[in-house]
Symmetry: C2
């Protein structure tokens, strides 16, 4: 008998028919002899509907009341799912985040989990009940309902799995698992059987979109085995686990891309100690996420600084930078839009020099210009023109030997190798 | 500065426009220098929509999960109202029943309030916030959300007013107050300025529908002054308070009617000690509410027993009675449908003999047959044919001097006397 945490997103519980399908999945896991804790998000459009109501009342809704409002979405889902599971003759009970003992910071709208006190969950499991917990929410010390912000339900599931020392945390989604790259871009993309936390983290951060990075980080910290799998059929998905447990395979495990990149350059910055700190601290205070940073060699007392940000942050970043110009000798600000980032990820890179070179070579052969480069121990990212980004993904997927049997992937049902 | 509890029902918060109107009302009370605690029900049709969802999942939903589901209705209302009040520049905060410290029995769907621990409410009032509390719900000892059943939001408001020692509990509704009788039946019906708890209780039990009897009982027990008033304009409504504080007025204060009455008779019940207990205990166990009971004199060792129940309970009551027939010497069961109950209510009756006689006389003069009679210290009820019930109400309203100026009442704006 294993203890399994299963997480279902909003589209999996969007209507009564889908809720019944989730209930069947849960009941099957119980029938296989396992204890089950289920985490669910709000039904499909519920959250949007509630936000629309609030917008009719005020232009600047308080985050605290929005948490009170939006947390009802998951509360509806858990109650309905509990009813659906009971209808199959399986005893079950729903718990809000607060009732499940999910304690958070007192920060409305984006609280982080500070502790989990799973007393109630354990006592319900002890009497053979399926416990259905509201994702995305917790309770602050003074008893206010809080929400966890983006990726919240994934994080709830992983945190509960860690706290309960669950044998497995299953994240159900609308894809079959983690792929070597986006199957919509490369038809020969293959589902991975296994991937390490670090690789997943790079892929998640690089916009693979299957799992929220926050949840992956939490899983890594607490050693929670994660399984990403489809809620539409029963095939095994992708297991995310410690690198040590992984079969050694290909050096590059996946190719990610991000089409939403802008490069900003400050040309002719007067060289002075603390320049970089001043600039990037100011951007951080304005909540602008800076990704790749490149600085030129100092010549004649000035240098150039370039960095990439998300396109959406441009309108925030520019005024911040302009306000700083005088103290840096009034450098020019240049920006380059319509860029993309293409990255190769794989834990095997650490012990395999030459991977970056192979990447540059493949792109050069395809006549794709590399505008910036960034490396970590397990990834190499290149900034390229947006118009050639998808071609770059295809070229790299082939170059690093990731292409599978195209026909099988198109039908969407192949297992890796 | 007074502390005022204001309760708004579901139709008062049915859409954003109405929520804004309620917010305005609350803000005005604050502007007048008062502290305000608001109790709201779920928005209009929310509860029905949620029930419909549940019905698509299971035929026999568990009461515990229905409480989890339906309590979201009020949680949505309180958050939206808090936002609307904030939009007017008035600081406010919403609290679920549990957060407001409303402790209940652990009985899903119809829990009674066992205690109120208003610590959080008091601390929010202390920092000059309007506190908006979810009606109809509380929390059990183990932390489950419970609902209070019918009339729940009225009861929440009165219980909070008692616990907070509020100066007044205002119940906002779609009528202007408590009337001498249903204005749809008697155009000359008059709004009462004041009424005693006991009179209100008889009227509430008799189907006047303005206030739930449970809330009135609670108000009487704790001496909470209640004001029933319209949410559509600012006129003073009806104050419900202790009899001692009431101006002495007419003997009969109001006429109530109930068109939903069935009389059941057991003809030829073998006389034996404990008969009545056996019969009415069995009906009570089946949750059948028995109202008027009449027994005949015993002759030849048998007697007849008649009683009235609600029409909707007939299908439950008949099988219960049939199962008992053998032990009572197989009496005949007769039933008479299409009946109604007409009642006169007034605290002054206690010290005024002849009120019942005047009622019988007025009905006889109008050739309305009286089928059963029941009396209490402050009311007399007669069961009559349903077809003559409304005529009976009119006759009695006139006979006991309750008719007001018809024109004024029709326009709906007159004050009593």
């Amino acid at each position: 008998m294993a203890l399994i945490v299963q997480k279902f997103g909003g589209s999996s519980v969007a209507n009564p028919e889908r809720i019944k399908r989730v209930a069947n999945r849960v009941a099957k896991t119980v029938a296989a002899g396992h204890q089950v804790v289920v985490v669910v998000s709000a039904m499909g459009d519920t959250t949007d509907d509630l936000i629309e109501l609030a917008e009719q009342l005020t232009e600047r809704p308080s985050a605290r009341e929005m948490d009170m409002l939006l947390s009802t979405g998951e509360q509806i889902s858990i109650a309905l799912l509990a009813l659906a599971v009971q209808a199959l003759g399986v005893d079950s009970i729903s718990l809000t985040g607060g009732m499940a003992g999910i304690l958070t910071e007192p920060i409305a709208g984006k609280a982080r989990i500070t502790d989990i006190v799973p007393r109630r969950i354990l006592s319900e499991l002890a009497v053979d009940r399926v416990v259905i917990v509201a994702g995305f929410q917790g309770i602050s010390e003074i008893g206010d309902i809080t929400t966890l912000g983006r990726g919240g339900s994934d994080t709830t599931a992983v945190a509960l799995a860690a706290s309960l020392k669950a044998d497995l945390c299953e994240i159900y989604t609308d894809v079959e698992g983690v792929y070597t790259t986006d199957p919509r871009v490369v038809k020969a993309a293959q589902k991975l059987d296994r991937i390490s936390y670090d690789e997943m983290l790079e892929l998640a951060n690089l916009g693979a979109g299957v799992l929220h990075p926050r949840a992956v980080e939490f899983a890594k910290q607490h050693g929670v085995p994660l399984m990403v799998r489809s809620s539409f059929h029963e095939k095994t998905g992708t297991l995310v686990e410690e690198e040590a447990q992984m079969e050694q395979g290909r050096i590059v495990r996946g190719i990610a891309h991000d089409l939403n990149v802008v490069k900003v350059s400050l040309i002719g910055v007067k060289s002075r100690k603390g320049n970089l700190y001043r600039i990037f601290q100011a951007l951080a205070e304005a909540s602008v996420n800076v990704d790749i940073i490149v600085t030129s060699v100092v010549q004649d007392g000035v240098s150039d600084i370039s960095f990439t940000i998300e396109h959406g942050d441009l309108s925030v970043a520019l005024p911040v930078l302009e306000s700083l110009l005088p103290e840096f000798g009034d450098p020019l600000i240049e920006r380059e839009e319509e860029l993309a980032k293409v990255s190769i990820v794989g834990a095997g890179m650490i012990s395999n020099p030459g991977v970056a070179a192979q990447m540059f070579g493949a792109l050069a052969e395809a006549e794709i210009e590399i505008k910036m480069v960034s490396t970590s121990e397990i990834k190499v990212s290149c900034v390229v023109e947006k118009s050639s980004a998808l071609e770059a993904v295809r070229v790299l997927h082939t170059s690093f030997g990731l292409d599978g049997a195209v026909e099988a992937v198109v039908s969407g049902v192949n297992e890796l190798e």
